[in-house]
Each structure stands twice: as C-alpha cells, then as structure tokens.
C-alpha cells in the first residue's frame, strides 16, 4: 500500500522531470554554450537515476546512468555538444518514458531492456573526444540513419518512430493538478448554495402535481448530492498528513523520557475535510505526547509487570457511521481511577463524598476537567494541568466527541469521534413560538413526546424547577419559548421535548413542535448578532427563509439548566490559581438554629460523643472526665443564642468538638457534625454577631465561621486565667488585608492570652499604633496597599516605635522561606496558617520586650458558662 503510494509519487515526479528535460534539451540545442542549462539537465537525469536505484529499477538505472556519464563529460567540457548527442539523450528520455509507463501499468519495468540505447550512450561516452566527435557518435550506430535523421528536434524523433516513441501520456501525471485551496472553498460555498436551492425546488415539487417537474427535480436531487460528495472529496486529505510528524514526536519523547516506544499507525489514508484536519492537529499531538509521558511506563517498570520493555503506541483511524474515529491507544499502565479521584479531590475539583459516588467511567472523564493532571511531577513535556480540557474543547468545537477507556495494567485508549465535514451538517428542525429553529444532530440524544393527561404529570417540579424522570434519573428541563422570550404556544395536550447533550451534561428542551431532519448549510451570523450565545449560526430552509441554528450549550446556559458542575469547577480552579486564596480544610457542623457552622479543622483536636450521664458539674460548668483529665464543655447554642428556648434539654448523647491548646483542652457541644470540606473560601462577610467571625460560601451554601476564641471566652473565662495563657495580655497588632486570615490569626493569639488589635491596611495599622502601641506587630507580606515593608518603614521612622518587633506573615511556608529579600528588617517571617510556629515566634518576640503595663485579659468577655438547671 505504502510502496504503491511512493511509486506513484515517483512516477508523477519523473514525468514532470522528463517533460522539463524535453524542453531543456531542445533549448540546449539552440544555445549549446549555456552551461547552466546543461548543469540543470545533468541534475535532472541524476535525480531520476538516483530514485531508480532506490527502487531497483535496473533498466532505468542503467540507461540513465549511461546518459549521466555522457552528460557529465559534456558539462565538464570534455566533449563538444553535437545535435546527434542531443538526439541520443532525447531517445533516452523517450525510453525512460516507456519504462515508466510499464511501471505504472504493471508495477514492473517490463521486458524491454533498451540495451541498444545504453550501448550507444556508452560508446558515445567512450569514443575519443572533441576532434572526431562527429564520427564518434555516428560510426557506432545500431541505427545510424535513424539517429542522423533525427537531428534537429524532438518532434522529428517521434516522427521517425511513430508507433513506438509516441508514448501515451501518463494517466497518473495527467490525473493530478494543483488547485488552490481558495478555489475549493469557493466551490464548496457554491455547492452549499446549490444544496439550498435543491431543497427549495424539492419543496416546491411536493406542492405540485407535475410529472415533468417531478422527474427533473429528482434528477437535480441526485446530481446535487453527487456533486456535493464530489466537491467534498476534493477537500479531503488523508489523516496521514497529520500523522507523519508523529513518529518524530514519539521518538523525541521516548529519548527524553528514557522509554522505548513503538509507534504503529493504521488507517493513515482515512480522509477528512481539511478544515477538520487543521483542527485536530494540535489535540492529536497532545494526546500522543500524553500517552508517551503518562501512559507508557519506563522499561524497568514494564519488565516488572511482565511486559516487553518497549511500549506500543497505536494510532487507528477509520470511518464509522458517517464519522471518523481516531483512536490513540497505549499498552501502558492504564489510568488509575482511584488516583484520578484522589487528585480531583486534592485539586478541589470535587468533594470527597462526590468522588466516592462516581462510577469508574465518570471518574475517567475527570481528566478532562480544567486544571487536572495526575502526573507526579511536572515534566517539560506534560503535567502542567492544561491540555486534556483543551483537547476536549477543541474537539467539541468541531462537533466531535472525546472518550477515554482504560484497562488497568493493560493500557488506555482515547477515542475521538470526528464529523467528516463542518460546512454541511444534519440538523433537526423544530418549531417554537411561531419560529423555526435547527438543532445540530450531534447534540441530539432523543426525542420525547408526552401525551394526554399524563403529560403534565410527567414533568415534575422541584422547588419550582421542572424536571423529568428519564429512565430513573432526573433530567433538568428548559422551555425554549422562555429561554428565548418567545410567546408561548397554546396549551396543547402533548409536550414535545428534545433531549440534548451539552458538553458532559444533558437536559431536556421543551419545544412547540418537532418537524424533520435536514442537511443544512451552516452560515455565520453577522457581527451584530455575534454576542448572542444562544445561536451557532443560521441556515436557509427549503422555502428560502432563514432559520436560526441553536447553540445547545448557549441555550442551556441562558435557560439556567447548565450552570453548575462544569462551570463551577472551572471557577474553583481559577480561584485557586490566583495566589493568596486560602484553601482550608473545614469542619462543618450544626448547632441550634445555625444550620451550617464551620471551624478550621487545624484547630480541632478530636471529635467525641459523650453519653449524657457522663456529664458532670464542676465550678458551675459542664465537664466530663476525659483521658484522666477534666474537660470543660461549652454548649455552643447557649453562647450563640443565649435567649433561645429549649436549650436546656440535652440529648441522650452529645457531640463534642475538642480543641486543644498546649496542655489544656475544651469541648464545644454541637448538635451534629456534618462534614469536612476542603474549600477555597470565596465570599466573605464579616459578622457582628457574637461568637461568629463571618460568613463564607462553602460547598455552595452559606456557612458561618465560628469565632472559637469568643465562644470559649464567653463560656469559660476561667479557662484562660486559670492556667494563664502565655500571652500575659501583651498587645499584638495584626495587620492583614484578608478579614478571614485576620480572624484566624486573631483567634489563635486570643486563645494564647494576647490582646489583639486588628488592622486591614497600612493606615489602620498606623492609626491603631498611634492610639495604643502594640508590643509586637504581625504584618502580612501582602498588606494593602503596598505590602508590609511600607509598615516597617513607617514604624522605623518613629523613635517611639523603633524597638517594637515586627513579624512578617507569608501565605505559605514556601513563601516564608523564599521571600527573604522582602523580609529584611523584620524580626522573622512565618507561615500565617502554621498556628503553632506563629504563636511561638510571637511569644519569643513578646517576651524579649520589656513588659508594659499589665492589661487585664479579656475583661469584656461576659461570663456565660451555663449555670443551667437540669
């Protein structure tokens, strides 16, 4: 197969060369002194000889070799050019043509050996040069007369041997012409027009009873279809065009990664529209690189798994059902579903309990989420978390589908389903609000018609949102009339619904009527309408009127049925990628009327359940004996809602969150522990309510953050005083832009017995210091507006503040270490979320200071430890 292709190429090229030789030789005869021309002729013959040798066409090689020898003598000036020599070379050209024709017909050179030509060429080259040249050539002729008579031009050569020398023009060479892509595109456009006109005529035909028109339109139909196919074929290119650069890619990857990879390609001649070839080029390369990098294991790992050391990468392309399938398969380790899930959770793309519910198949599709990568290390070839989502969106952009299959230990396969062409697509014509619309068939899953009384019952409502039970799972429903603001149709007793697939989600779209499917020609909308995401374009229908093509994704989004999951994860990734967003593990729980409360999990020591009868009273507080110690209990509801009724009843057992600080512990009684969530805390609102830091959106629900410090203060003032927190009431100024971080830092310092001043920016910090200087200043590196260095500079300018130590706060330990240059002049730099280390540093700096006036600890905290009666 491949050989034949190469030979075809050789034939085309040789025919071109021979035609040029004809011309040049005739030209040379007129201008024998033109050495450049002679050199060109020599090169051409040389090229033909070279390729013949490559294919082992011995006859051709022999005669071209002899001709080359002769020509080299001419070129080097060893021999003078005579007309007879030119004739001889021209004869060689004709002989070459004959052999090529034989090759084209049978694949072999044919029986004729052209010995006489070779012999004459040889003799001509060997004969004594210059002086006797004339005689030399003419005196060694098997056919001297003929050669003589030939002098002059190539035409006479042919004339002298009419039957044999007039070589039939080559079928291969003549069957190929180069055509500009622009012309093909124009043709395609015109065919598009023709298809539309054909559709119009056909519709016209159905309205009339005219036999003649009927026959004509039938023929028109047939011819148009054939023409359409024909023109489409002209734009087709084999996928091999893209594949041929892959062996190099794979080889380079294999060398770079120290792997052994065999690339196998099957179906390289599968043809696709050139616009599609362009569109899949990059995704294909990416998928191949991915397979080399993540799929195929290093030789030693393969050996351990009992596989051959060289991995096998298979590319397959084939037609199936009007589409082209492309498979990129490897025999590597496959995709580890568990690791995919774990990674997705780590990256905050979904929650752990969501991950557990996913089927293996759904989990595999997680790799297409933006920001996902399971590569252990980021190599220079892949693993940066961009790629698979881009592959997917690029393929979907051209109406294709990406699927991934994995057999653990045996390899993974990515399957692309690509439409053959983009310009003409099948579409379903639907009606809504008196207008017609077209839905691309690729997005269409099924049609549902609900009839009779039950139609209303079939569409159920969840909190006002319509849903439909489709084979056991709920399908969100949108009404096209509403989505587009069209007037609603009269109530009919039947509901027509199309089930659509947009990216990885499905929804039902209720329309007024479903007409039929048609081949439509997609036309772009004008600039004025580009902003409307609801439409993918427009087309012209059989009656000549324009109909809009719906963009399924856009419709779903504007109708509000496609907003979550996909979009959300994208948002989450974006949020994450911006530095400085706190990714927190949070404990979620419920207490009293607060349905969702949260504390950072890092503060929580243990979760315990105590039976009611284990709770005792001591010093006016609830306590339990816990690990040979007395654990004071704080009923959270009583702190948050001191006035709420019914809080005196204690359940049979109580859920307690145990917080530790140093060697002291305290238990906070809550109603129920809900969950642990890892979230980038996005929306924040400061709360004025006692016991709460503020609110944030966690897991799509508004959640209140507990101000642990206040709660504990409120409950057990004595807890701090009894053991005397290490802080001893020293004043700490916390200058930090993020209210959330500030709250966290504050709660840690509060618990350690410091008095904390807060400042959200430089001005507030200065003002705070002016009112009452702090003993230690803790400032975030990114303190608004210009960073903590500005605060440092301001403080060092004032003599009274010069001795006050300043601790810089970084977002992470990494930053704390790496930003040494920024932290020059500070008394240290700490990770703001490493509570222990932070407290240690503050304690060290505070104790180094001279002790100022002793301030009472948390005098304002009201004693709220429950003196409740049971």
């Amino acid at each position: 197969m491949q050989d034949q292709d190469v030979i075809r190429e050789f034939l085309i090229e040789s025919h071109e060369n021979l035609s040029r030789l004809d011309q040049e030789l005739v030209e040379l005869e007129k201008r024998p002194q033109d050495t450049a021309l002679l050199a060109s002729i020599f090169r051409t013959i040389h090229t033909i000889k070279g390729t013949c040798g490559f294919f082992a066409f011995s006859t051709l090689e022999r005669i071209t070799h002899e001709a080359e020898t002769l020509l080299s003598q001419l070129r080097d000036g060893k021999r003078k050019l005579t007309p007879s020599l030119i004739s001889l070379v021209l004869e060689t050209v004709d002989a070459t043509r004959k052999v090529l024709a034989a090759i084209e017909a049978s694949g072999e050179e044919g029986p004729e050996r052209f010995e006489h030509i070779a012999e004459r060429l040889r003799l001509a080259a060997q004969s004594p040069a210059d002086a006797e040249n004339q005689g030399g050539t003419d005196s060694t002729p098997p056919l001297p007369a003929e050669a003589q008579g030939v002098i002059g031009s190539s035409e006479t050569t042919e004339g002298s041997k009419p039957e044999e020398t007039v070589v039939k023009s080559s079928a291969v060479a003549d069957a190929n012409i180069r055509v500009g892509v622009g012309l093909l595109d124009k043709l395609m456009d015109l065919v598009g027009e023709l298809v539309l006109t054909r559709n119009q005529i056909l519709q016209f035909n159905t309205e009339r009873e005219d036999a003649a028109l009927n026959t004509t339109s039938q023929r028109l139909n047939l011819i148009t279809t054939e023409l359409q196919e024909g023109v489409m074929k002209t734009r087709m290119q084999p996928i091999g065009m893209v594949w041929n650069k892959l062996p190099r890619v794979v080889r380079d990857m294999a060398v770079a990664l120290g792997k052994q990879i065999l690339l196998e390609m099957d179906g390289a001649d599968t043809e696709l529209d050139r616009t599609i070839i362009e569109a899949i080029k990059d995704p294909l390369v990416h998928l191949v690189r991915n397979a080399c990098d993540h799929g195929i294991e290093p030789p030693e790992v393969r050996a351990r798994a009992g596989k051959p050391p060289h991995g096998r990468l298979t590319l397959r392309a084939y037609h199936e059902g009007g589409q082209v399938n492309i498979e990129i398969g490897d025999d590597g380790g496959g995709i580890d579903v568990a690791r995919v899930k774990q990674k997705a959770v780590e990256r905050g793309l979904l929650r752990s309990e969501q991950a557990e519910k996913l089927s293996d198949r759904e989990a595999l599709n997680l790799i297409f989420l933006p920001g996902f990568s399971t590569a252990q290390t980021v190599t220079n070839v892949s693993g940066r978390g961009v790629g698979m989502d881009v592959v997917k969106s690029n393929i979907e952009k051209i109406g294709g589908v990406v699927d991934v299959f994995s057999r653990p230990g045996e390899g993974a396969t990515v399957k692309l389903k690509i439409p053959l062409t983009l310009a003409i697509i099948p579409g379903l014509v639907i009606a809504s609000g008196g207008e017609r619309f077209v839905i691309p068939q690729v997005s269409l899953l099924e049609l549902i018609r609900l009839e009779g009384d039950s139609s209303e019952k079939h569409i159920e409502h969840v909190h006002g949102t319509p849903v439909y039970r489709r084979r056991g799972s709920l399908l969100p429903i949108a009404y096209l009339n509403q989505a587009l603001g069209l007037k609603s149709a009269q109530r009919s007793d039947a509901v027509s619904m199309v089930v659509l697939q947009a990216e990885d989600r499905q929804f039902g779209l209720v329309v007024d009527g479903i007409n039929d499917t048609q081949e439509i020609v997609v036309k772009p909308l004008g600039k004025q309408l580009k902003g409307l995401t609801e439409y993918a374009g427009a087309t012209i229908m059989g009656d000549g009127r324009v109909a809009l093509i719906l963009d399924v994704l856009g419709i779903g989004q504007s109708a509000g049925v496609l907003t979550e999951s996909c979009e959300q994860s994208r948002v989450a990734v974006q949020q994450k990628s911006q530095a400085g967003i706190e990714q927190q593990r949070l404990l979620l729980f419920r207490a009293g009327s607060f349905e969702r409360l949260a504390v950072p999990l890092s503060l929580v020591a243990r979760l315990e359940v105590f039976p009611r009868n284990a709770i005792e009273h001591a010093g006016g507080c609830h306590v339990v004996q816990y690990r040979n110690r007395i654990l004071p209990l704080v009923p959270l509801q009583a702190v948050l809602e001191p006035d709420a009724p019914g809080q005196n009843q204690m359940a049979d057992s109580v859920q307690v969150i145990v917080f530790n600080d140093g060697d002291r512990s305290i238990g906070v009684v809550v109603d129920q522990i809900l969950d642990v969530a890892e979230e980038a805390v996005m929306v924040r609102q400061k709360s004025s309510r006692k016991g709460l830091l503020g609110s944030a959106v966690i897991g799509k629900r508004v959640t209140d953050f507990l101000d642990l410090n206040q709660v504990i203060h409120a409950a057990t003032e004595s807890w701090f005083e009894g053991t005397g927190g290490s802080g001893n009431g020293k004043r700490i100024l916390v200058a930090e832009g993020s209210a959330f971080s500030r709250g966290l830092i504050r709660s840690g310092l509060d618990m350690a017995g410091y008095r904390v001043l807060e400042a959200a920016n430089l001005d507030e910090a200065i003002r705070g210091m002016e009112q009452q200087p702090a003993d230690v200043v803790v400032a975030a590196l990114d303190l608004p507006p210009q960073g903590s260095s500005a605060l440092l500079a301001a403080m060092r300018q004032r003599t009274e503040w010069q001795g006050i130590p300043i601790l810089a706060l970084a977002d992470s330990a990494g930053q704390a270490q790496s930003s040494a240059s920024q932290t020059a002049g500070f008394q240290g730099c700490q990770d703001k979320f490493d509570r222990g280390a932070l407290l240690e540093s503050v304690a060290r700096l505070a104790s180094a200071q001279a002790v100022p006036e002793a301030a009472p600890t948390s005098a304002e905290a009201e004693p709220a430890c429950m003196a409740e009666e049971r």
Binding site: L525, K527, Q528, A538, T539, L548
Partner: protein, 159 residues
Amino acid sequence: MTSDTAALKSERTETSGQFSTFFVADLFFGVDVLRVQEVLRFQQMTHVPKAPEVIEGLINLRGQIVTAIDLRRRLRLPPRAGNQMPTNMVVRTDDGAVSLLVDEIGDVLDVDAATYERPPENLDPAARDIIRGIYKLKERLLLVLDTERTVNLAAAGDA
C-alpha cells in the same frame, strides 16, 4: 431634485461624491453610492429572539444571510405606520453586507463638497452617532450616514 443634480454637476465637483439617497421619517439621508450593494423591496424576515432591538431580523439574499437593521429604531424615531412597508437598502460594510430598513428610496445625487458641514452639536445623540455630516442642498439638507457606525451596535451603547 433633478434640477439640483444638474446645477451641482455644472459646478466644480471634483471633491464631492455621489450619494444614494433615502428617507427615514422626515429625514433625508445619503450613503456613498459605492457602498450600496443593492436595494430590495421588503423581504420576509426571520426574527431573532433576544437580539438587540434595532435588529429587525435576517433575510436571505441569494443564499447569503444578511442582518437587517431598522434605521428608525437606530435613530430612536417612532415606528412606521402599520401599512408602510420598509425598503431594504443593502450596504457593504467591513463585515459583509448589512441591510438597512428605510422608508423610501430617493435618487442618486451628486453633491458639492463646498456645501458640507459637520452636524450640529445639539443633535440627538442617537442621530449624531451615525450622521457624519450634512450637505446643504438647495431644497433640503442631505444627512450623510456613516454606515460603519450604523451597523456597529456595540459602539451605540446607550449614548
């Protein structure tokens, strides 16, 4: 108007251009004649839900889909009387053909550059946005429509 044309032609017309004229309500507009692709009687249109209000719909111009912009709405003028059918004036723009819906088509006029003037400052912003200038003809004022700005709805905003 033909007398106008003749009079103007006799004068020096090197710097002036030829304008296709049309009426929208009582306004007399002109568009550079080379910009006009063709004029069609009212066509059936496909309404585009959710599109900007000034877009009347889409027409099929021999297989090409052309957006039709209602100049009355573009100029914030009251709508046409119910029985009055607008005419499509298809103009070439940088982004392909666009149809402008006008009330009536007038003659092609040669105008003298000397009679040109910038539009007055106190013109309604909606009109000022798309009127490039004014030629003071003998009988009436010819408003030069800036077609690029007319079809650029993004720039229209809510000026």
